[in-house]
Symmetry: none
Subunit: 196 residues, 4 copies
């Protein structure tokens, strides 16, 4: 039945996230994914045409989902501070809810592999654009200092959030990401010159 097919597809994708997170994409054996997913090796190939395609679909699906959520969170915000808060919060809570995905993202996002880059660049660029739009709007709404370079500001916002996530992923401390939300927001506010 249709539901079962989609279910298994997602089960394999979930298994792949977990497996990739544990050892990394390249060293990960397809049979490991199969084992975690509870299916036979060959079954994987009924749903994906290659190991690489699993990684590509994984990014497409999960990052698309992430962007979706980010966008809807931003819609209800009324000023730049709220928007930045929403970005940090959404990013953090998504990654906290998907630790394995977070690990995979932090690592494999930077692969020089061209097929992968092509697949990733779509959603990632959209995320970047989304952040840049927030800064741009902030300037127009006089929330943000006009001297701010939009690209560099985006690099700061994304880079900081991303680095905090990497930190959280690599140090297996019990500390939550969300705990740093306010501190990070204050840094961004100061950097962009937001009104209190």
């Amino acid at each position: 039945m249709a539901v079962s097919r989609e279910d298994k597809y997602q089960k394999i994708l979930d298994a792949a996230v977990e497996a990739f997170a544990e050892v990394g994409y390249h060293p990960c054996q397809v049979s490991k994914i199969a084992r975690i997913a509870g299916v036979a090796d060959g079954t994987i190939y009924l749903y994906f045409k290659s190991k690489e395609e699993i990684l590509i679909r994984l990014f497409e699906e999960r990052m698309g989902d992430f962007i979706q959520r980010m966008r809807s969170e931003l819609e209800v915000c009324r000023n730049t501070r709220m928007r930045l808060k929403a970005i940090i919060q959404t990013h953090f809570s998504y990654m906290e809810g998907n630790r394995s995905l977070a690990i995979v993202t932090q690592v494999e996002l930077r692969q020089p592999n061209l097929n992968l880059r092509a697949a990733i660049s779509g959603p990632l660029k959209e995320y970047f654009r989304l952040i840049e739009e927030v800064v741009q709007a902030g300037i127009q709404e006089k929330d943000v200092r006009p001297s701010v370079n939009i690209r560099v500001a985006r690099q700061m916002i994304f880079g900081t959030i991303d680095e905090a996530t990497t930190d959280w992923v690599l140090t297996r401390s019990g500390r939550t990401l969300s705990k740093d939300l306010e501190g990070m927001l204050e840094l961004f506010a100061g950097a962009l010159g937001l009104p209190d």
Copy 2:
């Protein structure tokens, strides 16, 4: 003779940087490194005991060198703004002068592989400590708002610089990294509340 041995060691390391940058560590064949280095495959194993060790030594040597330089640049700085400027500048110019190393660093720095993590964490942690010391000193010297969370500030500083480097590495535009130095410094200044 001793010089020749050291020379070849470095030649292999240089070749490895180039090779890893092009395709990534895992997909890179040892024979590719050998070809670029102009030595036989077997020769590699007279200098390194495995492909993994190449990567590990690579980080140890090149990051150690990087930290060294960073430290000496910082010594001559008299206030927080100068120190932050030195960090950005040194990081940018080092990476611009070692583009392949920059690529490898951005990608492989995040490997979940434990041996590698152990090797990297030394120099990387020292870099983090160094940044945190700058922030800490800034607070003591009343350059930095006392409410600033030091760890989060470090994540911002490193994350932003790192993201700018990744951006530069992946978009093969002619744009130099250094061009963004002042803009980035202004963001940091605002974020930390530095005096003008």
Copy 3:
């Protein structure tokens, strides 16, 4: 119902002939046969216990049918020349009417696989015996030179017809096999010393 079962059995056999002819027995996937036959992969196994059995049955059925026809054509012949003509003609027209089967026969007839050899050898040996009987009778009827080695004569007759068929199968020219009937018959007549 019984008819339907036999129908489907033949449909699968026909599909197999077509599929084997296209790519050869070994490289041919069972799913290809199923697709051509318009049945599910699993259905094949309700009629045959393995892929190999399809090939075996195929030879048994189609070659049996071929021998049957050959035998009935020979019965009405009154002398050696007519019999040889009947053999060539029947062989040619059967293969022209079953081009795919001809292809499969030319190729797979020579498999070293022992199960297959055993299955083929029955009808093939009967065909050989039939040819040899014609030569033998020719000698008794004084149609054929008595010095003729019967086995070698059979090799000539079968080998020539078979090679002409292979030629026709491999060169996809429009040329018909039957066109060479008379020329070949004259060669055989000369070889065996038939009276004009």
Copy 4:
């Protein structure tokens, strides 16, 4: 050293002939060839880029060699009967001296696989041309009846010899091929109308 490389290449080719003869090309595992050749599996791929290439090179080398020998045997013949005798004799003795090659040739020569066909067709066509030249010359020299169709005569000559070889290959009797030389020659002589 150069000799050693060529040696090993031939050793693998010999092993492949033996292995293919035993089970057929498709079912034959590369590891079987390696075992017979006394080398590691991977070594095969230092000399051939794929299993298929082994088969292709095998035909190119061994058939080229065969044609070479055939041509030089024919050069010293003074009439059609001698030439036909030389063809049969050379073919038979070559195959008797290379039984495994004979087996492989009889079977795989007829593969529908296009790459293989292309590789084979060169030497095989040359063989056909060579036979046809003998018949043609025979007609000009008034040795052969002018009514003989050259193509059909070639099909008879090659087909008969080939079928005798197949017969000899499949029936593992002690009987030698050469024993039938005279009987076959007489058939050809009669078929073509050669003078006594």
